[in-house]
Amino acid sequence: MTAEIERIVAEATAALRVVGTLDELEALRRRTTGRRGALAEVLRRMSGMPPDERAAVGARLNEARAAIDAALDARGRELALGARAAQFEAERIDVTLPGRRAPLGRRHVLHRTLHEVERIFIGLGFEVVEGTEVESDEFNFGRMNMPADHPARDEQDSFYLGGAWMLRTHTTVVDAHVMAGRTPPMRVVTSGRCYRRDAVDATHMPVFHQLDGFMVGEAITFADLKGVLATFAREMFGPQTRTRFQPGYFPFTEPSAELAVTFEGRWLELGGCGMFHPRVLEMAGIDPERYTAFAFGLGIDRPAMVRYGIPDIRLLWENDLRLLEQF
């Protein structure tokens, strides 16, 4: 019987060498250590043996079963690994193929600039208000200290809509509306489209964007105007930015100044500013003896162009995706 066992072990060892798949391995297990396998057959025949001989053969049989099972398990692990590897190989992809994606939307570069400017003024404690693009001549010019036939009107050549209505030529007009309805102190910005009768060229469009702000209080000074705008400029264009205030003329401010900032080694003109003319305050029902106010109006289109290196203003309005997708 022991010889029988040795033969089974030898055969199993030999067979194991040629097993190539997990199925063949299981078949071999069934034939050898399985419930109806060769070793089980030996065990069954052992029932007729004398007890002392049976113990020795039984011990050998258990050894043989353990050895064969261990060998089978080891081979099984080898085969399983191989099968995983084959599966992975079969599932190999080319990771260098292009990615699949839905488009990312974008804000227009001009609104992006407007938004940045607005955000800085919100940070400086300004409240944002909204105005209308259709305005009355009375507010757009009259309340801005430009009565009919005022020569400064020539610089703001306007589109008229019939009756007293026109397209606003500056967002400063919104200041007049806000001031007329409130009691100081006020710290307000407003922005949006303005219109002037300018022929289209590389630097002009009949439609453009402005952001206007003003502050009314009992102790507001020209020094405050300089401080607020210089702070804005450093926030917008970097901490090294310098500001320049040159005397200018606007009928609605006195004193008036033109604001420019340094950008990439050159002066970039941002807009006009000054202390609101006492007549503008009076027309809004604010006592100019008690209150003073500064106001500023910043262009958006031109600074956006310079800041982002866009050479022609028409590009802002063309909506060529090759431009829009760069921002």
């Binding site: 292009p98 409240e127 944002v128 102790a219 006195e254």
Partner: protein, 688 residues
Amino acid sequence: MRVPLEWLREYVDIPETPEDLAEHLPMLGLGVERVEETGGESVLDLEIASNRPDLLSLIGIARELAAWRRREVRPPADALDDEDPPAASAAGVEIADASLCPRYVAHVIEGVAVGPSPRQMAARLEAAGIRPINNVVDATNYVMLEWGQPLHAFDMDTLVGRRIVVRLAQAGETLATLDGVARDLDSDVLVIADARRPVALAGIIGGADTEIHSGTRTVLLEAAAFLPASVRRTARRFGLRTEASARFERGLDAEGTMRAARRAARLIAQSAGGRVLRGAVDVYPGPSRRSAITLRLARITRLLGTEVPAADVLAILGRLGLEVRRDGGRVYAVPPVGRRDLEREEDLIEEVARHYGYERIPEAMPVEAMHPGHRPQRLEADAAARDALIRAGLVEAITVSLITPRLLDRFGLDADDPWRRAVPVVNPLTADHTHLRPCLLPGLLEAVRVNVSRRRDAVHLFEIGRVFAADPDGRPRERRSLAVAMRGGWLQGIWDHPDRGGEVSFFNLRGVLEALAAELRVGSLAIGAGGPGWLHPGRAARINLNGTAIGVAGELHPDVSARFDLPGRTYVAELDLDVLLDRAVLQPRFAGIPRHPAVRRDVAVVAPVSLPHAQVHAALRETVGDLLERVELFDVYEGPPLDPGQRNLAYALTFRAPDRTLTGEEVDVLVGRIHAALPARLPVAIRT
């Protein structure tokens, strides 16, 4: 204003180089456009603000330089050797309306010999950009540049009745002006006339019949003041902008006429000979008075935020030509002739600030009660809407708000379409900007066209902006609109399904609008079939929110596409954004996470193709009620074994009760209700 430096030095010392001036004059508010070198002389080209007619003169500029460096101004000589008889005996002047012409000064010079001007005068005029003509006309231009007061010289012998009448023209009168144009006049035009006919457009240009010529013997020299608005209107009407009108428009001081007239008479007598008749004819019905302006020194500090020493205040105002007197904390200052722009305290403070130096005013931060900066709800909602569309994958466009109705014609609108009520611009500049846009789509589709013409087929744009409509009340109505245009591929990198290519469909567009509504939390949009004629009749939808029509969406009609040069299919929508923004909820409240499990069941409904999904969806909801948490359509199938004209709609239903775990039996009852009710309400069968 062209300023030859050599000439300017006659009135003030200028040790600075032209480059120094170019750098510093802007700090005084005098913009330097460029510095020219001509014939060894420097000419500054200055940009002059519209409130400073005095700076259209060399003396005015000299005063600025004097105040800047505390120098003295040397005014030109105007002493006259005039002789009897008096000018008034030789010429008459009459002003019909003193509100249009407050003053008219006339000198008479007899026995002139017209010829070329002295070389220096001619050279200076030329450097200043004015063509020399003869020694009489040149003298008037020379003084105009010195004092800023335009003058005119008439050949006195051509003036009928030897009279000047300043009056409005009469309809039917004409005047041949010096530029060789015959002009038709009417009663809006102020003219200088003689006893019979107009001889000059007041303050703008002279007439050809009365001009100085080589044979002129007697000169009537005019120095007058005119109402700026009248000159401005007439100059605009005739499209004439002359050196004279540019000055009168800005408002000249009637007080400045006499000294300019004397100076010009002197120069004419010097260069053309002749004798100046005694005195001048001076018609000046209501002499204007110059009065002192009170300037509080404390107010300077209050407005500028820095203290300017009183000595500086007095020195600056004094050099600018004001007569100043200090009394404690107050300065009383009388502006010089020609500075009509100085009217009140703030005007003087600006003069002080300019010459003290804006750069010397410190930077400060306002000290006021603190309020947090913020945006109102509507602007927050506007920002949220843009943000949602951008996150949905669209690119923001901006288009010009002025359009031409020709662009609208491409839509083939009905006569009563609201978009036809575009607001016309009364004075358009170009033919393609004649109206305010009544909607955004025409402009946005133009942007799509531009991209497609540049071989970019996948275009997904939106614009948010104001649109306008005429209103019987007069004031054009203004609303915020949203337009979307989508066409071509959506996903990139579909290399494994090149035939499908990720082309957008109506449902991409619809998905964007649904995402927007969800993001603004306005409730769900009701999107039903139908729409305007410019959409594909089978692919057009109207959009409602809580029963209010807010817009349309669909595939652009092929005819309209063709008019925009767009091949293939383009999907568009336009919505009244104000309605959405009004209802936007920007601060959601946490609704909790369900504590009890949901039960999912699928239901397949076979329905005619013509039956909208929305009706099946609504019937499912109504049949089950609140326990039906979600209805998701996950498959739509047409084809065998279904009959033609039928389709299978497969819904995944999610049931959930907020307060307990639903049992299988309960859900079975609900599904059973669907099986019974749906075929009874709709022409459908439930597949089991």
